[in-house]
């Protein structure tokens, strides 16, 4: 299968509660929590679009959009 190419992560900061599940289990360490304990994308170029962050998020706060 061809490698998926990331367009963007859509993050809903109002819904994110900063549990850190997406950050911890991202296989490529693309995400981090900022000073307000909200998820931010720090290494988008490493994203493999596996969507595990989106699927595990208890708050439906992150979406991975690919080309």
């Amino acid at each position: 299968m061809a490698r998926l190419k990331l367009k963007e992560h859509i993050i809903n900061r109002d819904w994110c509660k900063g549990c850190g599940i997406c950050v911890h289990f991202c296989p490529k360490k693309v995400l981090e929590l900022d000073s307000q304990e909200k998820v931010v994308v720090v290494r988008p170029e490493d994203c493999i679009c596996c969507k595990l962050c989106e699927l595990r998020c208890p708050d439906l706060a992150i979406e991975v959009i690919h080309e």
């Binding site: 509660k17 549990c19 850190g20 911890h24 699927l55 998020c57 208890p58 708050d59 439906l60």
Partner: protein, 292 residues
């Protein structure tokens, strides 16, 4: 459709604690419904009481937030009156197997076409961390400060013994597997049970020193293994995940329809000479007798 089209966005952010596994179960369930391409107007979700039960408020399906332990009783009523609807019944471990244990085994015994999802965090989350019939011995809870001595139910074995025709287990860590199992359970004709191991970091995690949500998910990863895997063969103490039972068995609503049909037939033949009006009243009577 997008996932957001299946929820009532006005109630978000949802009420669950940060990292609560119940949110991930909602997420997986929405993906399953979306991937199956179900019309949301054909789905009814009934729930009881508990943190888990709050899930019915977030989905944009027909929903009934009912009484603690009684979600399956309400679902049975809905399904029998409108068998064409798809019934999804998420329940907490206390909801499903403490107060609702009797409804649970009898719904399984009847093999009525309902998808029962046990959101198992091994504790009463909503009421402050009392132990549940799924906690198991040696666990701490507000009602067991020196640890519990009660054995836990094995939801899978219990469901199989009670007569469920589809029985599976997954976790909130194994999301891809969980979505796949939920899709199969929803498509199954008959009583389908999916136990999903969930994490309550606020009560169970804190009391049992399992740490935060992330550490609790690491525990799920380490202590479970896929049915038929080498890992499970090497270490039978691991909790098995996967589909344990998936069989065709007579479904309750269909069997009920057959009874109605045979009652109609016998009433019609015994009253073949009477007027139409009489026939209708007698048919109704014999249906009622059969239903008792």
């Amino acid at each position: 459709m997008a996932i957001k089209d299946y929820i009532r966005q006005r109630y978000f952010p949802q009420m669950w604690c940060p990292g609560c596994g119940h949110g991930t179960i909602l997420n997986s369930l929405l993906r399953a419904v979306d991937e199956l391409g179900l019309d949301k107007n054909s789905i009814v979700m009934t729930s009881g009481i508990g943190c888990s039960a709050r899930i019915s408020g977030y989905v944009d399906f027909h929903s009934l937030h009912t009484l603690h332990g009684r979600a399956l009783a309400f679902a049975t009523g809905v399904k029998l009156s409108k068998p064409e609807l798809q019934l999804l019944v998420p329940m907490g471990d206390g909801d499903a197997l403490a107060i609702g244990g009797n409804h649970f085994i009898h719904a399984a015994r009847r093999n009525i076409d309902i998808t029962a999802i046990v959101m198992n965090n091994r504790i009463y989350g909503m009421t402050g961390g009392q132990y549940s019939p799924l906690s198991g011995p040696g666990k701490k809870a507000t009602t067991a400060p020196y640890t519990t001595i009660d054995n836990e139910f094995d939801v899978v074995n219990l469901s199989i013994a009670a007569g469920a025709s589809f029985v599976a287990r997954s976790t909130t860590y194994h999301v891809l597997e969980c979505i796949d199992i939920l899709k199969k359970a929803i498509s199954h004709k008959g009583f389908a049970v999916v136990e999903i191991l969930s994490q309550c970091p606020t009560h169970y995690g804190r009391k049992n020193k399992e740490g935060d949500a992330i550490q609790m998910l690491e525990v799920q990863k380490k202590t479970t293994a896929k049915l038929g895997s080498k890992a499970l063969e090497d270490d039978p103490t691991l909790i098995p995940r996967g589909i344990f039972v998936d069989i065709d068995a007579p479904e309750y609503c269909q069997e009920y329809d057959k009874i109605v049909e045979s009652a109609m037939k016998s009433a019609n033949s015994s009253n073949s000479s009477s007027s139409n009006e009489n026939r209708i009243s007698l048919t109704t009577k014999s249906c009622v007798t059969q239903g008792e």
